[in-house]
Structures are given as C-alpha cells and as structure tokens.
Symmetry: C2
Amino acid sequence: MERRTVFFVSDQTGVTAETMGHSLLTQFDGQAFRQVTLPFISTLDKAEEAVRRINATAENEGVRPVIFSTLVQEDLREIIKLANGLFLDFFDAFLGPLELELKVKSSRAQGKAHGMQDLGAYTLRINATNFALANDDGAVAHDYDRADLILVGVSRSGKTPTCLYMALQYGIFAGNYPFADEEFESGRLPQSLIRYEKKLYGLTIAPERLQQIRNERKPNSRYASPAQVEYELRAAEGLFKRYGIPYINTTECSIEEIASRILDKTGVERRLRP
Amino acid sequence: MERRTVFFVSDQTGVTAETMGHSLLTQFDGQAFRQVTLPFISTLDKAEEAVRRINATAENEGVRPVIFSTLVQEDLREIIKLANGLFLDFFDAFLGPLELELKVKSSRAQGKAHGMQDLGAYTLRINATNFALANDDGAVAHDYDRADLILVGVSRSGKTPTCLYMALQYGIFAGNYPFADEEFESGRLPQSLIRYEKKLYGLTIAPERLQQIRNERKPNSRYASPAQVEYELRAAEGLFKRYGIPYINTTECSIEEIASRILDKTGVERRLRP
C-alpha cells in the first residue's frame, strides 16, 4: 500500500489544521498516512524551510504529500503553494466568500485563533479546569452551587475525562460524583446531590466494556468481575430512572461525543468556543 | 453594529465545524456573532429541522446567517445548502480535490472523525488523562518512568491544564512537579527528578500576570505578593539555567500554544491526532 505523508502547516499551533485534516483523512479508509505538524510558520524564512522539507519528502517517497494549511497571511500561503504537494488551505477557501458576505475585509492577522488576546478566556478555562479537579470523584469539599453540570455514574464510566474536556474545550464547570455501595444499597441519592438534581447527568456503559476497562486497571479483581459490574450498572440505571436523571450510554462514544451530546440535550451553554 | 448568527452544523459533535468557524471569525474584528451549534444532524429529518431553524433566524434578524458545516453525506449537504444563509462546508470544499489526488473514492461515512471506531485511541486518552492526574503536582506516587514529559515551574504557571490538554488532545503522558521552598532554597532539583532530567520542560510567566492569577485564588496573601512571586520566578529560572532545562514563557500563550510549542521544541511525538 502506498503511504502518503500529510503535513499540517500553520502560523499558529496547527490544531485547526490537524482537526480539519484528520476529519478528511478518516474518510479514506485503508490508506496509510504519516502525519507531520509544522506549527508556527509565521515568517517567510520559516515558510521556505517548510517548502524544502515538503519537497524533500516528495522526492524521498516518490509521491507528493498532502498539505493541510491554515495560513492567514497571503504571502506565506503563496510560498507554501509552490511546494510539491496537494495544497489545501482553509483560509484560502473560505476567507473570500466570508468577506463578500460580511462586506468587510478580514484583518488577516496571525495568531488570532489560539492566541492570548483574551485573558478572560484563558482564566475561564483554567478556573473551569480547577473546578473539575476540585469537584472530581465526589470530593468532600465540593462546590455544586457553581456547577453547570454534575456527572454521575459508576466508577470508570467516563466522568472525569468528560468533565476535564468540557472545562478545557468549553469553559464549562462540571463536577462529578461516582455512585458506590452506599447508593447501590439504598437506591437513593446522597443528600449532597438531591438539592442539585436538575444539574445531574448520568453516564452508563456496556458491562463488557466496563469489565475490560476495569480489568486493565485492576486485573482479576472483584471490582472488574462480571457480577460486580452488572450489579453496579443495574443499580446506577435504577437510580437514573428513579430520579428522572437523563443519561447517556458511553460505550460507543468518544469523549468529544459524550460532551457534545450532553450539552445538546441539556442546553447548557458553552462559555467558550474552541 | 449588525449582529450575525453563525451556525455550526455537523453530523457529529460539531467540534471540527466550531474550530474551523472560530478560526475564520476571529479574522473579523469588531463584528458581533451569535454562535449556535447544531450537532448530530445525521438524518434527512434533522437536516430539514436545521434548515427551518436557520431560515427562522434569517427572517427574525433580517440578515442571513453564516453556516459552517461538516457534513460528510452529500444528500444532507444538499438540504442544508438550501437554507437561507452563506453555506461553507468543509467536506464540500476539500473532499473532491483529495479524492482526485489519492485516486480513491472516500467512504463518505458519518461519524469517523470523533467516533468510537478506535477503542485503542479512547483507552489511550483515558490512560493519558489518568496519568496526568496521578502525576499532578509532584504526587508522591509518581511514575516518571512512563512519562513522555514532566513539566516544572512555580505554582500557577500553567502546568496542570497543559498536562491535561496534552493528554486529552494528543494522548501524551505528561506529569508535573511544582517548584517550592525546598528547590528555591537549595537551588537544586529533588532526587526524584534528577534521573529524568531529559524529560523536564520548564514553564515561566511574567510576575505581574502570576500575581494577578494568584491574587484571584488567594487575595492579598503572601503567596500572591510581588516580592514572593518575583523571588519564586527568579529561583525557578535559575534552576532551569543551572540544569539546562528548556523553558517557555507562558504569559502570552493559550494552553494550545504552550502545548504545541513544547511538542515542537522537544520532538515528543503526538500519540493521537485530534
């Protein structure tokens, strides 16, 4: 099978180019791609160096690379365009139509998308991340008053990474509370949560998958046993139903997808955009 | 000032559409945009519902919305295209040229970009996140053998969010160790870190900014005082220089940017792509 090199070229971090390129590449099953990020290509010198690197790859591999780029400045784009590769630039494609529509020239300024022009946004993400950490795993010193959401479910159903992702990506304040023996046995929510019933969202997961995840962490433990896993999941779903807590099955979901689905269902507003 | 509504329409989470749209919108300073995400538009019915929503917005606001979309299926795109708005679809723009270049038809399958086709990737992100949490803040039970990177610096220089971002975004195993009195006074790294010198990367930050961040957390404390902040930062930079630890000033950087710059400088490989 032919292997292509794909370059993500950006005057900034390359995150947008990577996201865009990755979405497109996943549409080509069975193709092998080597992925290289060239971030911070913000001067003519660096752009020329990038072109040399792309051209050397084309020569070595006998097939020209694919270049996903997000270069705001036209002069830099013009240089990268000359490289021996398929050039797909995202500002090139969309900035023109947008300018026409908005009837205004864009600023064509680098470093806007992920720069620090907005200290407030930075602080919000940090605060949301700290909130998620301080309100993780049913922390004693929780602060559910400030929470946008509180995720509940059994251990290893995906609560913590989802909370952290929501914090970093969207500035959302999400805490989480793991159901454990006390809840399973009583079939009741703890007092600390009942006041916040409207903020609760449940995560559940297929028993086989949970066994697998838990077994990786504590091999051959009771914690990872089929009987325990099934008992806990049944009890957790019982709680969700008893209290009318909406819930999502995370078995087939990525973290992004769990987060997006919860925001979509609850209507909790993103405080930040990526 | 005219306010436009911008829709992010996706058959998946909308993260790619948001990222793409946000990059473009930041090029239009001084314009006000209301941003609405319509994720999981994966059926003809949902697409028609989205069109009704977009058209109602156009009617109410007297100006047609901008639509950033990432719809893999052509039939869904064809429906959204009929909405009263500027339609910018990213598969529409790039899938054709890519198919020509790769000489293969794309699968045009939904849910590839952030789906769960790859359980290994999910597990890797979760493990990397757990690693970041278990190796946060100089944890006693650290596991630096498995670390790709260990971030060092004073309290509140950005270590924890950067580690978590690297874990969630790239599956990188990053721990962190905060410098404190012991290191400031001795001017030496602790034994636990010396073995791992090659994995260390320093964060520093402008004193004014650090004061501001600490003051938000502990107002009027010694911890947030100009003298203490300056003392700590000088001592930390002394350590970086003494041990030849590369470091970055995070004052003007977003979390994405800190992460990208560190990966760029160290050559640590991304284990995952967004």
